[in-house]
Symmetry: C2
């Protein structure tokens, strides 16, 4: 018998199968939960090395390694980054804050070094570099959790790409895709694995098929409402409150609609990201 | 003593630290290697469930779950996808081919369902959805490798986004970011963990600093040349062959320069990806 992590998604979804397909890594991956309350204890240097080596071991498209990681521990810098990220306190409280960047600056330098003209100023290269950063970040998350550390992705660094770039001294061609809080969690910081849409809604066989979407949405709304996920966390719209049920569907529809009526912090649809990343040296259009 | 995976990146880089920071998951992550030769044996359904549940457990921005996964096992479909992906045989040979998609179609349906206007037609939403797909894929890779399966990311699906969308029946608002081969490897399909740029080149402390880049590039070129990485794999440019050393720098500079002179297969810089993803229902500009 494998020792089972109590909070695995396999358990909450009632998935049962042979223990041979359930190992400590599967248990770890399916027990993931973001942590937003950190103890001040530092992260041991050996743990950081293991985590960064795992990040550097992720696949990277054509081995281009079009990413960089900035390790931030300085308290003042974490405070300033927390402000750029919409004032999320845990960015300031986490002992280590990792910033995963799309990086084409290095590739451009390599082209110049080899006396060749860099021609990859494209959306493709922006996407490839961002994905390289994302895959490295996900490996860092898994490695960290295997060592008993908690993590939380901070996509809201994209609220102010230029501010973040200035704070981290990023040259042209480097864009902070996401931050990652990293530290030991406070007691009682877990709510349990967050339910996801039923597998049938996100996983398709052979071809895309969402013919059961309505039923899956109803199931998921019930699950998330019963869990109290949105209590005290509603997205305010400024509309007269309708009496409708407030579940994932309504929360999500509010987050992806009419930015002008939403609260600044939860609202940013970052409509001007094209201009911002082009100012940072990427070409999108 | 933890049992050590012989090929871990920690070993090839000579990193030594306390065994308390080296567990089976760290060993697994740092021993990653892409597999390009697969046995025809099917992937057990329980393994696939574990892998997909791990993928669905990855972080997703604001819990939007802006991705879909298409599980392809049909041999004819794998053959056709292999063609879209530039004729890579292992896409056809792998028993299971997973396609990780950025998906805003579901979010748009949810907005309509809630009688709200979807306003997230932005580069930010394209990036967020692509990252969601990427994080899910990385978890699938880790889960698969923990179960003794091999994987290989297939970014070249982006060579023909419309063709892939038609083959998989993707609706408007869904874009195949990357494929993933999944299966048991043939004997002798491993070359050992691929060396990466020295950590000092991709990992920065407090602020971005590439003042040692030239030394790091020289080190890496020596490592990759000594390993024979590019033997028989040079990117042809049509130029008169210069006598320069051919290492990562030259290989990378060729891949990211002057697309018109490069071989079709290794060359695609996908300069028209903006138009292609906009035809698929995303808004970039």
């Amino acid at each position: 018998m494998t020792t089972r992590t109590p909070l695995s998604r396999l358990d909450i979804e009632g998935v049962v199968f042979d223990d041979e397909f359930r190992n400590s890594t599967i248990n770890l991956l399916t027990a993931h939960e973001s942590i937003r309350r950190y103890r001040p204890d530092p992260v041991p240097e050996a743990a950081l090395t293991a985590i960064l080596t795992a990040a550097r071991s992720a696949p990277t498209s054509s081995n281009l390694q079009a990413y960089s990681i900035v390790v931030v521990t300085d308290a003042g810098r974490r405070e300033r980054l927390a402000e750029f990220a919409g004032g999320q306190r845990y960015v300031a409280d986490t002992p280590v804050f990792l910033v995963f960047c799309a990086d084409i600056a290095r590739l451009q330098k390599v082209s110049r070094r080899q006396d060749r003209e860099f021609a990859a100023r494209t959306l493709e290269m922006f996407l490839l570099a961002s994905l390289d950063a994302g895959l490295a970040m996900q490996n860092a998350i898994v490695a960290a959790e295997s060592l008993g550390l908690g993590t939380c992705c901070i996509g809201s660094l994209r609220n102010d790409p230029a501010g973040v770039a200035a704070e981290l001294g990023l040259p042209q061609g480097v864009f902070a895709v996401s931050g990652l809080c990293l530290g030991y969690e406070q007691p009682d910081s877990r709510r349990g694995v967050k339910p996801r849409l039923p597998a049938a809604a996100t996983v398709h066989r052979e071809q895309y098929d969402d013919s059961d979407l309505e039923r899956n949405l109803q199931d998921y709304d019930r699950t998330m409402t019963a869990r109290g996920t949105y209590e005290g966390r509603r997205v305010e719209t400024g509309d007269v409150e309708r009496s409708e049920e407030y579940g994932w569907c309504e929360h999500t529809a509010r987050r992806t609609s009419r930015p002008q009526t939403l609260l600044a912090r939860s609202a940013s649809l970052r409509a001007d990201l094209v201009e911002q990343v082009e100012e940072l040296g990427f070409t999108i259009r």
